[in-house]
């Protein structure tokens, strides 16, 4: 195997991480499904019935892409950051560091598993939502593309967070103080065109706006920003994360003294 690609190591990490999710099935699958269902009952059925349709789409249906984004995004970060932070915390990271495995392979294993888990969750939420509201997907391929790009990008971001954090508090604080506000203000629950012009302009600095907008376009062909720009911004953020990860492993930041 020397010199080549250690696919067995990638597979070992991937399986290990997936097994962890299925072991804690209540926490990793049932709870997001439950909370999403609650969103649909409260905002979709109860309050949503009093809100006007947005560009011809009922509010309940309008919510679906935003809610899927909200969940997959936060789950990607949580899965990936915990996946790499926990071995650092317990010390089992020694085995990863001493294995004949490259940076790329480590990232593929952890990020691949985290992205897969949130992708599965996104699909489960999509299916769940169909029980509550009328969902239609205009561009299934683009829908999947945006979903995969989002899960991969935010799993990369979560992976970085898990490397940077030196305590459970830091692991929680970024999702809580940065990611949650960005997702709530990123148009998950509204179209940014509903905002006053000043806040519309501010919103364009929020990367989540582009994700939600592009993703919603793949459902209903309505978008706050041009789809090509959405796609470009998502790819840009992904490349930025990859760049930082490459630097982390090159310098051994927080991993090797």
């Amino acid at each position: 195997m020397s010199g080549g690609f250690n696919h067995r190591a990638v597979w070992a990490i991937y399986r290990f991480e997936m097994a962890r999710a299925f072991r804690t099935v209540g926490q990793s699958i049932i709870s997001p499904v439950l909370s999403t269902s609650l969103y649909f009952i409260v905002f979709g059925a109860a309050i949503g019935s009093r809100i006007d349709a947005i560009e011809g789409v009922s509010y309940g249906a309008f919510l679906v892409p935003g809610l899927i984004m909200l969940t997959t995004l936060s789950q990607s970060i949580a899965n990936a950051s915990f996946g790499i932070y926990f071995p650092r915390f317990t010390g089992t990271i020694y085995e990863i560091l001493s294995a004949p495995i490259s940076t790329l392979e480590i990232v593929l294993g952890y990020v691949g598993a985290a992205a897969s888990k949130s992708l599965i969750m996104g699909i489960i939420i999509l299916v769940t939502s169909a029980f509550f509201v009328d969902v239609s997907v205009a561009h299934p391929i683009w829908m999947l593309t945006f979903l995969v790009l989002t899960t991969v990008t935010f799993s990369l971001f979560g992976f970085l967070l898990g490397i940077w954090a030196d305590g459970f508090e830091k692991l929680q604080i970024i999702p809580l103080l940065v990611v949650t506000p960005l997702t709530f203000l990123g148009g998950s629950f509204y179209s940014i065109t509903m905002l006053p012009p000043f806040w519309q302009a501010v919103s364009l600095f929020n990367p989540v706006v582009y994700l939600v907008s592009g993703f919603r376009w793949s459902f209903y062909e309505i978008a706050d920003v041009n789809v090509a720009i959405s796609l470009g911004m998502t790819l840009f953020f992904m490349i930025a994360c990859l760049g930082v990860i490459w630097w982390v492993f090159k310098t051994g930041y927080r991993l090797k003294s």
């Binding site: 020397s2 250690n6 089992t92 085995e95 560091l97 004949p100 090797k256």
Partner: protein, 308 residues
């Protein structure tokens, strides 16, 4: 055959400025058990971590089975198994899953028969499906050895294998290590128990303040151990040792109040009887006699306490 491990001019300075290793040179032969002895903080774990890739490499080169640990890290690391000092395991996994995981991580194809054999060799087979957190400390320690052996390494590092381990378990650990050596694995263990080094090792290296200050065959050290000293307390101090006693190479101590005779305690003839007769012949009378034996512990303490 080329050595399994070759360390040349290795130095390591941590970002804090701590000079953890200073120009270490060492070669490990295939099939030997090498004990790296030193007080806490001497650099034992740093040396192992550097070879295994857990910390960044410093200056110098390390070849494992002829492969450079930096340039050819995959081949080098495939040959190494590491059992770290801390008991770090995935509490919610089972021994079977974690050993299979380790094997995959090191790029080896699945081999249930080998995993089974490894678990059986380490008396963990009955516990293969038990959650690791429910295993005893001794079982966890053995499990970490099983993980390190999962990819059939040629070189095994055991960092403080008996730290915090009771006497019974320590003996068990020694049995395991001997069994591994018999199967052809080269073993490097670190310890601060001198008894452990004496019990197990073919060769002993002593490290202190990041410097490898001594590397010697254990049997050679035991020969040093075999050297005993006879101390003869004299009734009247003497200025010089008489010419007739020159053959005994006696040393004067306490301004001539005592004489010290160094002899080989393992020899059949120690020369003590002849010496006492010759002393009487020379008219030297003595008040007391006693013998002392320098232990490996004395040598060790002497070496590591020596000012830099």
């Amino acid at each position: 055959m080329s050595p399994i491990l070759s360390i040349s001019n290795v130095s390591k300075t941590y970002r804090s400025g701590h000079h953890a290793l200073k120009n270490v040179n060492l070669e490990i032969e295939r099939g030997e058990i090498f004990a790296l002895l030193g007080p806490n903080g001497a650099g034992k774990t740093t040396l192992i971590s550097l070879i295994c890739g857990i910390i960044k490499s410093g200056e110098g080169t390390v070849l494992v089975d002829g492969h450079d640990i930096a340039r050819d890290y995959r081949a080098a690391r495939e040959s190494i198994g590491l059992v770290p000092q801390e008991l770090t395991t995935d509490a919610f996994e089972t021994p079977w899953a974690t050993v299979s995981f380790s094997r995959g991580l090191f790029g080896k194809p699945p081999n249930p028969a080998f995993v089974e054999k490894t678990l059986k060799d380490l008396s963990l087979w009955e516990k293969k499906d038990t959650k690791i957190r429910n295993l005893s400390g001794g079982m966890k320690r053995r499990l970490m050895i099983a993980k390190a052996l999962s990819h059939e390494p040629q070189l095994l590092f055991l960092d403080e294998p008996s730290a915090g381990v009771d006497v019974e378990l320590r003996k068990q650990m020694w049995e395991i290590v001997r069994g591994l050596r018999a199967s052809g694995v080269t073993i490097i263990l670190t310890t601060h128990y001198i008894q452990e080094a004496e019990e197990m090792a073919d060769r002993i290296g002593i490290i202190n303040h990041g410097e490898l200050i001594l590397v010697e065959e254990k049997t050679a050290l035991i020969r040093k151990l075999g050297k005993k000293q006879l101390r003869i307390e004299l009734n009247d101090p003497i200025e010089t040792v008489p010419e007739s006693l020159a053959a005994y190479r006696l040393e004067r101590a306490q301004n001539g109040d005592a004489l010290i005779y160094t002899y080989d305690g393992t020899a059949t003839r120690t020369g003590i009887t002849a010496l006492l007769a010759d002393l009487a012949q020379a008219g030297i009378s003595f008040a007391d006699l006693h013998t002392t034996q320098s232990s490996l512990e004395d040598i060790f303490v002497d070496l590591v306490r020596r000012p830099k």
